[in-house]
Amino acid sequence: MIRAAAAAVALCALAAAPLWIPGGYYLNILSQILIYAIFALGLNLLVGYAGLVSLGHAGLFGVACYAVAWLVAAGAGQLVAALGALAVLLATTAAFAVLSLRSAGIGFLMITLAIGQILWGMAYRWIDLTGGDNGINLAARPQPFGISLAFATPFYYFTLIVFLVALASVAVFIASPLGASLKGTRDQPRRMSALGYNVWLIRFLAFLFSGLWSGVAGLLFCYYNQFVSPNVLSLGSSAEALLMVISGGSGTLLGPIAGAALVVVMKNVASAYIERWNFLLGAIFVAIVLFMPEGLVPGSARLGRRLWLRLRGVPAAGGAR
């Protein structure tokens, strides 16, 4: 009941955001948060629910990004370009999954890191195809049903709709039998085989689903910036996405969204005051892994509870007036 009410309030706040958020700059930041939240939702399917930590997901985000920009530059219509990009994305994701699912745990992490680097290398060095360091410009944002997305507000609503679809699809998946099977393969893969489950195929399907949302986020990111460069596929970008997932709390539905908000806001604030975003990114990473491995949201709650208990349990000197 309370959760339904909270969800309704959050939804209303998001829907009315252009009314209460002052100016296009902040609305654009909110759009960015939603785009990265979609990315993090996708990555969390693997990290949180399959127990497979990928350090190459920026590659999938970037492939969709590049594919749509390249197709539009090659003269394809926006719809064809978007569908073509998704096709390229799914093919890449399938190959990515087949290679990396030969392993789990640390091996999986290493292979995804290596494949992510290959994709980055392609973007950076295969200049004929990708323009190298110069990247590719996207001439214009698409106009779904004739509605222009050129301005902040319509683009925000477009992103919000995609975000809600992503969130709903992940929520449905997690509560489904297949979602429960996936969590089973995370906790006891061998037992799951003995119970009659095809562990590899379950992981493969989860990987495709994860890749799909990561790529859709990449697509939106390309529309948002109207530009794509190799930086999008870098290890730093993969690490950022992973930070969103684990900082918010991996394996929870809303954690990655909170993580995305946290990272995007910090990145924007940090870049306004200090230059050293990467240092901060690394420091937060280390701090979270060391002190709050369950994520910032559940972790803060735990630390807060402990503090509260201590305050109540031990009557402070000032308390006995």
């Binding site: 039998p177 297949l178 429960a180 089973g184 006891q188 037992r191 085989s193 009659g196 689903f209």
Partner: protein, 245 residues
């Protein structure tokens, strides 16, 4: 036709031969007890039957069908289920969810990404009934991590039974249980329908012997003696294996 027929099964780890030329045939509905000292290769034999280990040579057939090359995951679908000596359950989940997962493993529903698992009333009722059959209905909603060792043993058995296996492998179902718990589990195993073929590893002879029709004694990866209870107990090799000669 045997329910489970094993022919010349062999397995080595490096140079160590853990199973050698094991041949075993269980008739449908038979209850067979496997005994033998530690390291005799009993659990390895189970792992070979379920496919968790690949045999180096030999063949395994389930109701006349050769399953030697079949992946582990396909075997439960043919009616093979097992429990583990070392408990491997889903610790964060409730007892009901553990048993439901077992049931779901055989259902085509497991591939559905759209329906809600907690709305699958038929599935969940069957899982609940399986928990009730092992006397754990009252704890259905409790996370596994908050249960006792004896309760987990019974969850193991419920997970195997709920799959309605034709051939059931039980790896030391009485290990680590108190006297009272032993009685409960013995009653539970005795109540399994007679058409279920059972292969059981157990060290506690007193409880296990009552349940078994025939006994197989293993030693150093080989079958030493096989026969009825009286035959095995009277056999000179049995004394040799257990007491030395």
């Amino acid at each position: 036709m045997s329910a489970l027929a094993i022919k010349d099964l062999g397995k080595s780890f490096g140079g160590l031969r853990v199973t050698a030329g094991v041949t075993l045939a269980l008739e449908a509905g038979e209850r067979r007890l496997i005994i033998g000292p530690n390291g005799a290769g009993k659990t390895t034999l189970f792992n070979l039957i379920t496919g968790e280990l690949k045999p180096d040579d030999g063949a395994i057939a389930l109701f006349g069908r050769d399953i030697t090359a079949l992946p582990t995951r396909a075997r439960p679908h043919l009616g093979l289920a097992r429990t583990y000596q070392i408990i491997t359950l889903f610790a964060q989940e409730t007892l009901l969810h553990n048993v439901t997962l077992s049931l779901l493993g055989l259902s085509p529903l497991r591939w559905s990404p759209f329906r809600r698992l907690d709305r699958q009333a038929v599935l969940i009722e069957r899982a609940r009934a399986a928990l009730a059959s092992v006397g754990l209905e009252a704890l259905a909603g409790r996370p596994l991590a908050q249960t006792s060792y004896g309760e987990r043993r019974r969850v193991e058995i419920a997970m195997a039974l709920v799959q309605q296996p034709k051939v059931l492998l039980l790896d030391e179902p009485f290990a680590g249980l108190s006297v009272d718990e032993r009685k409960d589990v013995r009653r539970l195993l005795a109540s399994i329908p007679r058409d279920v073929t059972m292969l059981m590893i157990e060290h506690d002879m007193d409880v296990a012997l009552e349940l078994a029709d025939r006994i197989t004694l293993m030693h150093f990866g080989q079958i030493v003696v096989e026969g009825s209870r009286a035959e095995v107990v009277a056999h000179p090799r049995t004394r040799e294996v257990y007491f030395g000669s």
